[in-house]
């Protein structure tokens, strides 16, 4: 009797504590997504804007029009480029931060986090002043006589990849730092003791050991990149062919909610599938 009473009280307490979060998730995430999912099967009508029906035409359109193939491929390429770039650039910094005995360590970590305190938009605006036709880089190069015409940096794939990379780099560094700090370096010592060179100890022991953590970082950053909106929009221009800007264009300029909704679910599906694929490929021999 008493046991069940306690259980009921515990269940009651748990329900009480969990309900606010559950309601928030249900109300702000699940419900809008269900509505969007429904929208994606509606039809666009120039007069009514949205007509209730059940059609696959929005999805069919995405796969039929080559324009949208470019959009999804650009999105994948930018996201992959920025994610891999952030691993390559972030790893040495993360390694240093994880291993340093310096008393300035926490200050250095703050330096890494610092860009996060500046919003995406502000940072992109900063890039514009640097890379515009009359930006710092072009003016300097022209004044030095290295180039005679301003080079196009803004509104290129390069600008978008670099911009996105710089946004996600702090996240990557912090993730990798956490991963490396968890490594028991006596295991690396053991490899050296058994005759491995520093290079062999790194590639054969250290890298495989941190791989699951690196993969977690990869997935996290890849998802951020796939969904990037502000940076591609500001550095790639309003017509830049990535999914999030394209999706928002459909809502803001053509008010095509059904197609925008379909784009949203396609983006989500592609993100999930490519993440699973990468995870599967890199862990095939791991248990």
């Amino acid at each position: 009797m008493t046991v069940s009473k306690i259980n009921i009280r515990q269940i009651g307490a748990a329900t009480g504590l969990l309900s606010p979060a559950t309601l928030l998730v249900l109300g702000s995430l699940v419900l809008p997504m269900l509505i969007l999912l429904r929208y994606s099967f509606n039809a666009y009508d120039p007069m009514l804007l949205m007509r209730e029906t059940f059609t696959l035409e929005n999805y069919v359109r995405f796969f039929a029009e080559p324009y949208f193939h470019t959009v999804i491929l650009t999105t994948l390429a930018v996201a992959l480029g920025a994610t891999i770039g952030s691993i390559i650039l972030g790893f040495p910094i993360a390694y240093f931060l994880a291993r340093t005995q310096s008393r300035f360590k926490s200050f250095l970590v703050v330096l890494v986090i610092f860009p996060l305190l500046v919003g995406n938009v502000v940072r992109a605006a900063g890039w514009i002043t640097l890379f515009g036709t009359r930006g710092v880089v072009n003016v300097t190069l022209m004044n030095l006589g290295i180039i005679s015409q301003p080079i196009e940096i803004m509104y290129t794939d390069f600008a978008v990849v670099i911009g996105t990379l710089s946004v996600v780099l702090p996240f990557m560094i912090l993730t990798l730092q956490g991963v490396i700090e968890n490594v028991d370096f006596s295991i690396v010592d053991a490899a050296l003791n058994l005759g491995a060179s520093r290079y062999k100890a790194f590639t054969r022991i250290f890298l495989p050991m941190i791989m699951p953590g690196v993969l977690a970082g990869f997935v996290l950053i890849f998802i951020l990149c796939m969904n990037a909106y502000a940076t591609p929009y500001l550095l790639g221009g309003p017509g830049y062919k990535m999914m999030a800007p394209t999706l928002y264009n459909q809502i803001s300029s053509v008010a095509n909610w059904p197609f925008a909704s379909a784009l949203a679910f396609i983006l989500m599906a592609v993100t999930v599938i490519s993440t699973l694929l990468v995870t599967r490929l890199t862990t095939r021999r791991r248990r």
Binding site: S186, I187, A191, L192, N193, L194, G195, I205, P208, M209
Partner: protein
């Protein structure tokens, strides 16, 4: 198997000397234990033999070859780490085979040696397991097999038993020792646990603050400690303050302990092992004999620890062997005869109360 020869090794971190002018040798198939409290430099010394610690000065020779400036992977030492440091992403076989692979040994020759090494530690059937699927004791044996499969010149063990539970420690320690003897391994092992050192080592090296305080066999160190620090570190000792007299040692409480004090400086302390303090009628005839009050008795099964209060206020602890049918009854508050042989009384340099 080879000899290890260390001369005047020095490792400084700024003003602090972790290893301070240590010279040490280990002969073929000798098992040397580095023993001392934490921070005494024993681990730094072991790690500098393996090559992980770049030394400030001095020389390390293995087999007559100077390895002082050699990278760890060029030294051919086999080390067992305190936490075993097994490669978590490799099977037991691959763990053991790693050192062979790094030496370019592969195929049938490698398979044969891996199997032999695993057989040596009775883990023949565990080759395909991953380290996390093994118990602590099994992991330790994998670490041993992995270090030995490459035929190291020097076998290094960093607190090899400290992560095992107390019951396993003794048997694993003896197995390690048997293995070391049968393979004739020159071995250095670090421990802070005196029982481990006494049980396993041919020679104990007691370290303190980066220096060697005393080295010798377990019996030598236990029976003839060079200083109060050693007497206190190995086993237990009663320590009595007072002054050296021509007849022996006069405690501050006024008790005279007769012993050979010829040529002793006056500023010594007296130590007496609890097992050498004899209780009851047998004590009366001893050259050092006194009446004392029993202050407390701690029953420990095979023995009891009996704390005595001497008339002048000195306190001594005796270890009394408990035997069925013993006529001697011990009761707190009773007076009892206690005594010891002059040879049991040791007058030692007091290096504990002086600043260090």
């Amino acid at each position: 198997m080879a000899d290890l020869n260390i001369r005047n090794l020095q490792k400084d971190y700024g003003d602090f000397s972790a290893v301070d002018g240590v010279s040490l040798t280990a002969g073929a198939s000798e098992l040397v234990a580095l023993l001392g409290p934490s921070g005494c430099g024993k681990t730094t010394l072991l790690r500098s033999i393996a090559g992980f610690v770049p030394v400030t000065a001095g020389q390390i020779e293995i087999n007559g070859k100077d390895v002082t400036r050699l990278a760890p992977n060029k030294r051919n030492t086999g080390m067992v780490f305190q936490n075993y440091a097994l490669f978590p992403h490799l099977t037991v076989e691959k763990n053991v085979g790693f050192g062979l692979e790094m030496r370019g040994i592969s195929g049938a020759e490698a398979d044969k040696r891996i199997a032999e090494a695993l057989e040596l530690v009775s883990l023949g059937a565990y080759g395909h397991r991953y380290p996390k699927e093994l118990s602590g004791g099994q992991q330790q044996r994998v670490a041993v097999a992995r270090a030995l499969v490459v035929n190291p010149d020097v076998f290094l063990l960093d607190e090899p038993l400290s992560n095992l539970d107390a019951k396993l420690r003794q048997s694993v320690g003896m197995q390690l020792r048997d293995l070391q003897k049968s393979l004739g391994l020159t071995t250095v092992f670090v421990t802070h646990d005196q029982k481990e050192a006494l049980m396993m080592a041919d020679r104990l090296v007691i370290m303190r603050a980066g220096k060697i305080v005393q080295e010798g066999s377990a019996e030598e160190l236990y029976d003839a400690p060079a200083s109060y620090f050693v007497a206190d570190f190995l086993g237990h000792s009663n320590v009595v303050s007072g002054k050296v007299t021509p007849e022996g040692f006069l405690s501050t409480g006024g008790t005279m302990f007769r012993c050979d004090s010829a040529g002793m400086p006056a500023d010594r302390v007296m130590t007496l092992r609890p097992e050498n303090l004899i209780l009851g009628p047998a004590a009366v005839a001893l050259p050092n004999s006194f009446e004392a009050r029993i202050q407390s008795i701690t029953y420990l099964g095979a023995q009891s620890e009996v704390t005595l209060s001497l008339p002048g206020g000195d306190q001594l602890t005796a270890t009394h062997q408990n035997r069925t049918g013993d006529s001697l009854t011990l009761r707190v508050g009773d007076m009892i005869s206690a005594g010891c042989l002059p040879e049991a009384v040791r007058l030692l340099v007091d290096d504990m109360t002086t600043a260090h």
